[in-house]
Amino acid sequence: MADFEALKNSVIDMDPDRAVELTQSAVAQGVAPLDIVNMALIPGIDVVGQKFRDFEYFLPEVIMAAKAFKAAFEVILPHLNEAGYEPKGRVLIGTVSGDNHDIGKNIVIALLQGSGYEVHDAGVDVSAQRFVELVRDIKPHVVGMSALLTTTMAVMRDTIAELSGAGLRDSVKVIVGGSCVNPEFAQKIGADGYGEDASEAVKLVDRLLAV
């Protein structure tokens, strides 16, 4: 029996070495790779997100916990591929133009990949036009936009308008996040959803794609 509780705690405790060791042992015992993610790693990150919201954890703890999550996930990834798992969906994600903050975006990417999504990282400073081009090329099911600076939030609004103008709005779900964004803003600009933090973003994508 794999020790999901200990693995979950290794993420909460920001301990990548222990996370890797426990993941390897679970894989060796024949535990299904996605069970390891869903029953230990994601619940661990959920706790980290809650601690961040409660001002118990701060940015360094969140980043180090995400590193533990990622280290464990890298052990699992080859086994997922081997087992022929189909991705749950395709997500395009980027930080909007004028903004070069990628810490939050990268944590969301790690968690989406960890929970079985194919993720395309558009990077930082992505313009509305560039998002439209990428949506056309990659055909994602979900587009995620991130912003830290209040001055760049308008790019989210503009991207949704450009997607509509290009006739692509109905082909994708649009989600937004970042420390300056709130649910009211998401609703006003016509986004399909808002994620308070990375684990909420994963739940939001699951909900939007009904997986």
Partner: protein, 291 residues
């Protein structure tokens, strides 16, 4: 008169307000690019603040260090950019106001959380300090820091080669525990670390606090240190306007009343950050004159 003497002469020393929104209103690009593409507009913004009552203006050189400039594809050198920023501020200030050479974060987090070493960080700030000092700034101001260790790197980089006074300004995410940054650093700890690094003035700018809440940070600083304290709050918290743009809309009078709380808590220098205008600075100057 130099900055530290001026503080002793005035009950409240008045700094300037937001630069980015003022540049945008006049149709100029944001940030350092304006120094190159719209230099007259930069000078006009500085001048508007001095006319409104600013004793000091801050050069338009926020984040114009090599780490940030490289990540954001600037084609100008660090020294040219900062020299230009200092010249534009000096042109507006003449001998009517002091010019403070402004620093912002590198945009990278320090190891092991991030990818940059303290030595690399300090070197980047030292290079910027050299350019600003060579162009004749009167003092340095390090702003919008969420990591006290990065702020300390900048303070040390300034103090290593120059005798000019240094203001060190942190950005807080919450008033809990007397104020904590996104990195979790407490205001009291920041005060001690920055004072030990050589800061002459402690400060709090931007962040998630409104002007009156900033008084909590001032108290934390004053409990930990005897250094003078500057506050540069935003014009309240951002709200959405009719076009869904996030704007800071606290009116000048209410802003000045909030800053008054900070002065009662012990601050002796005041200015503004995001969303503040020459009108906010005028309100501050009037409030300060009435004390």
């Amino acid at each position: 008169m130099d900055l530290l003497s001026l503080i002793k002469h005035k009950k409240v020393l008045i700094l300037d307000g937001a630069t980015g929104t003022q540049l945008a209103q006049r149709g100029a690009p944001a940030g350092g690019r304006a120094n190159i593409e719209a230099p007259d507009t930069v000078t006009a913004v500085h001048r508007a603040y001095i006319d409104a009552g600013s004793d000091c203006v801050i050069t338009n050189s926020f984040c114009m260090n090599r780490v940030y400039m490289k990540a954001n594809n600037f084609s100008v050198s660090v020294s040219d950019m900062n020299a230009r920023a200092a010249e534009l501020a000096r042109k507006a200030a003449g001998d009517r106001a002091l010019v403070l050479g402004g620093f912002g974060p590198t945009g990278e987090l320090l190891k092991p959380v991030g990818n940059i070493t303290e030595a690399e960080c300090e070197e980047a700030f030292a290079e910027q300090a050299r350019a600003l000092a060579d162009a004749g700034v009167d003092a340095f101001i390090v702003e919008t820091m969420m990591d006290m260790n990065e702020a300390a790197c900048a303070v040390r980089a300034c103090k290593r080669n120059f005798k000019l006074p240094v203001i060190a300004s942190m950005t807080y995410a919450t008033t809990r525990d007397g104020g904590r940054t996104t990195m979790g650093h407490r205001a009291g700890g920041c005060a001690r670390i920055l004072a030990a690094a050589g800061a002459d003035i402690l400060s709090c700018n931007c962040g998630d606090l409104d002007p009156a809440e900033t008084a909590i940070i001032v108290s934390s600083y004053k409990n930990a240190s005897d250094l003078p304290v500057l506050v540069e709050p935003n014009a309240g918290k951002p709200v959405l306007d009719d076009n869904n743009n996030a704007v800071y809309s606290m009116p000048p009078g209410e802003f000045a009343q909030g800053v008054l709380e900070c002065i009662r808590a012990g601050a002796s220098l005041a200015g503004g950050c995001c969303g503040t205008t020459p009108d906010h600075i005028r309100a501050l100057a009037e409030m300060a004159a009435s004390l």
